[in-house]
């Protein structure tokens, strides 16, 4: 099956600001890998349930008890930018 990737769209979805040359290179490489990966489509799988997880377990419960949490200062010390106890980022919404 020939693979044709809209690589610019995929890069946008993945939040990767890539140059045109990089996009060309990655498209070619991804297409080669996907052509190989598409071999899975040759296997008949009608009626086969998908496996998302090898343990086939569902819920994992534990007691709801208060335990020590991470030190706020130690965590925020790793932030590229902060304002008090908040992570600071560029504008998400434009000013009204």
């Amino acid at each position: 099956m020939p693979i044709d990737i809209d690589i610019a769209k995929v890069a946008r979805l993945a939040r990767l600001a890539l140059s045109d040359e990089e996009l060309d290179l990655y498209r070619a490489q991804c297409e080669v890998v996907l052509e190989h990966a598409a071999l899975v489509q040759a296997l008949p799988t009608e009626g086969v349930e998908p496996t998302s997880h090898p343990l086939r377990r569902t819920n994992a419960f534990r007691e709801d008890v208060v335990t020590e949490c991470l030190d706020t200062e130690e965590v925020l010390a790793q932030a590229p930018d902060r304002d008090g106890n908040y992570f600071l980022v560029p504008p998400i919404l434009e000013e009204p």
Binding site: L18, T45, R62, P80
Partner: protein, 492 residues
């Protein structure tokens, strides 16, 4: 006199507990070995001399005053740098995490510390554990101690090289598609991937969550058991952690293989396997049969599709897991006028080519219109692989194969061809898709003097029989060769 850096873990435990050496002396020997070899090997990203010295002194104090000690008390251990260590830089070999000081220890790190082990430092890996050679590290390639022109394998290549050369007595790695077993094979040591869920992954920086597993790299099979005993067992902080009883890893050691049913996987022999690797594996199978094992050849037809399924599932999960690296809470940030631009600029600069490629692949495979044809189909194939394993384990106790289709390849040989690199994992990937335990044991050298690894696979929670067979493979092989670099001296 034997250099202490050449001791196995169990020899060192006896020496420490018998008062023949101190943890400080052992650490000094390991540091000397690192000093002699690191310029060529680059196994470590970061050697934590002050932290290790403190731990060694504490271990000696515990050993000296009759306090409760474990087999790991005073043992120098290396950690793959995708395991978070509180206050000690953890980068995953990525620029996006340069300078990151985690605010907590991974559960396995905490368990090693509680057991009294001495953490030597953080080892090199392919960026975010994506690769089979360490060539994808943003901080330079590690080298193979048997031949520094060759790769140590990957992604846990730094951990494997350190243990092989003696700059650690044991190490932890992570295995998503073979990343413990393949480098262990290429470096002539023992590498083990436990059953999915047996070892907590809290604090392992996630790559592909339905496949990742932490495990030990050691020089011997009993040493692998010792490390697994320390790190295994339920952890409420990891919701995929196995809540039930942990197998008795040690029970099978020394029991031999008489009556054990061994299956040779047809799909993992012959075509695509280097003839010398194939011959070494076949010789070992014959020897096991000579020791009373009942050998049959089995076909697991879905294995032909394992690599294809893996290269849909792993990138899909990676694209989701690595969304957290967005320049907001930790690591690199690059300027952008909006938050979205900031994130896209940060990620484009912070991730290397292989990680970028896999994020793109995964994003595509999960995107609307392609999900069912790629990711959905790969998950159904995964079911077929599990069914094949289940049917095989109805007939045999363990399955065997080569660990890696070839011995160590030269640096650069596969760097520009992603698909050729991916083929390195063809024998190891099925056990990740199934979540089953598997181990690589060195069985000999090829004509170029490079180690060959033999893989044993067992059903879920089948560690007892896995270690039983692995120990017999180790005994039969009698592999005692040491890499050239382990014999280097400071004065040459």
């Amino acid at each position: 006199m034997t250099d202490l850096a050449d001791l196995t873990l169990s020899e060192a435990t006896s020496g420490l507990q018998g008062g023949e050496m101190t943890a400080v002396e052992l650490l000094e020997a390991v540091h000397r070995r690192a000093t002699m070899t690191e310029a060529q090997l680059h196994a470590y990203l970061n050697i934590d001399r002050p932290g290790a010295a403190r731990a060694a002194v504490a271990a000696d104090s515990a050993l000296g005053n009759g306090a409760a000690v474990s087999k790991l008390t005073g043992i120098p251990v290396a950690l793959k740098d995708n395991l978070v260590t509180r206050g000690l830089e953890t980068t995953c070999s990525s620029k996006i995490l340069a300078g990151y000081l985690p605010p907590y220890d991974a559960t396995v790190v905490g368990r090693l510390r509680e057991a009294g082990s001495v953490i030597v430092g953080k080892t090199n890996l392919d960026e975010f554990a994506m690769g089979s050679s360490t060539e994808n590290s943003a901080y330079g390639t590690s080298r193979n101690p048997w031949d520094p022109d060759r790769v140590p394998g990957g992604s846990s290549g730094g951990s494997a090289a350190a243990v092989a050369v003696g700059s650690a007595l044991a190490a932890l790695g992570s295995d998503t598609g073979g990343s413990i077993r393949q480098p262990a094979s290429l470096c002539g040591i023992v590498g083990m991937k436990p059953t999915y869920g047996l070892v907590s992954r809290y604090g392992l920086i996630a790559f592909a969550s339905s496949l990742d597993q932490i495990g030990p790299l050691t020089r011997t099979v009993p040493d692998s058991v010792t490390v697994l005993e320390a790190i295994g067992g339920y952890d409420p902080a990891d919701s995929t952690s196995h809540p039930g009883k942990v197998p008795d890893f040690r029970a099978g050691l020394g029991r031999g293989v008489a009556g054990v049913r061994i299956g040779v996987v047809s799909e993992l022999s012959g075509e695509g396997i280097d003839p010398q690797v194939q011959a070494a594996v076949a010789r070992m199978v014959t020897s096991l049969e000579g020791e009373g094992a009942r050998v049959t050849e089995l076909s697991l037809p879905s294995f032909e599709y394992a690599l294809s399924a893996y290269y849909l599932i792993a990138p899909a999960e990676c694209s989701a897991n690595l969304a957290r690296f967005d320049g907001v809470r930790y690591g690199l940030r690059r300027h952008g006028d909006t938050v979205e631009e900031m994130m896209a600029n940060t990620r484009a600069e912070g991730f290397g080519p292989e990680v970028t490629r896999r994020i793109l692949l995964g994003t595509y495979a999960l995107s609307a219109g392609y999900y069912d044809a790629f990711y959905g189909q790969a998950q159904r194939v995964r079911t077929l692989i599990l069914n094949d394993f289940d049917s095989a384990y109805g007939q045999v106790d363990v399955l065997v194969s080569p660990t890696s289709p070839t011995t160590a390849f030269e640096v650069g040989a596969r760097a520009t061809d992603p698909l050729a690199m991916y083929m390195s994992d063809v024998c190891t990937i099925p056990s990740n898709l199934s979540g089953h335990p598997a181990i690589s044991v060195p069985v000999g050298l090829d004509d170029a003097g490079l180690p060959i690894g033999f893989q044993v696979m067992a059903p879920a929670l089948g560690e007892e029989v896995l270690f039983q067979v692995a120990a017999e493979v180790e005994r039969i092989a009698g592999f005692s060769d040491r890499p050239a670099l382990a014999n280097s001296r400071a004065d040459i």
